[in-house]
Amino acid sequence: MQVRVQENDFEVATELAAIRRNRPQIGAIACFVGLVRDISEHSEVSELTLEHYPGMTEKALQVIVDQAAQRWQIIDARVVHRVGRLRPSDQIVLVAVATEHRGDAFAACEFIIDDLKTRAPFWKREVTPSGARWVEARQADEQASERWRP
């Protein structure tokens, strides 16, 4: 299990290859990649800056991955989240989960990204034609995270 917070971009193929290496028992990898969109709340976005809480961020991501590993049969999981300045179409986040069977991989991957969106201390600030503004939390993200709670 690995979580990373970094300014640099990541290469999906490289990350998946690292997960697969020397693990012939893996039968499925579910992979989610979040991207910067060029539109938000009906206005254009030319740039996005991601701030985070160094120290807490890594711990929070590890807790989320550990919870997924308690709930599903996971062979390996990896979360890479970028911070700093990003532009539309840039990759923001990678969640990859390797399992024996696809059901666990899909479910755990979706759980991790849903939980990350409401529990990991990242904040987005976007630049639009009318100026820069902090992105507000979406109720839909809270609901997506809630549905995993027992």
Partner: protein, 83 residues
């Protein structure tokens, strides 16, 4: 000493990213500390009114009734928007 961090829009509004202070007399939990900070007046008053304020104690999400001993790292911030 308490170490208090502020993030994102809150950091900008308060023009403060971090500060250290001893646990104020009579303050026993996060809610008490927020009242103390809000009593500074001006821009600090929003800490008492903020409906969308979140808090972490020692780098874990915490509720406002979380007790404080005086040696914690606290953080205040808006709801998170990563992913």
């Amino acid at each position: 000493m308490l170490r208090i961090l502020y993030f994102a829009g809150l950091r900008e509004q308060l023009a403060t990213s971090q500060e250290e202070l001893p646990l104020p007399a009579g303050v026993g939990d996060v809610a008490g500390l927020l009242d103390f900070l809000a009593a500074r007046g001006g821009k600090w008053q929003q800490l008492r009114r903020a409906r969308n304020l979140r808090c972490a104690v020692n780098q874990e999400m915490a509720r406002f009734d979380c007790p404080l001993r005086g040696d914690e790292e606290l953080a205040f911030f808006p709801p998170v928007t990563g992913g």
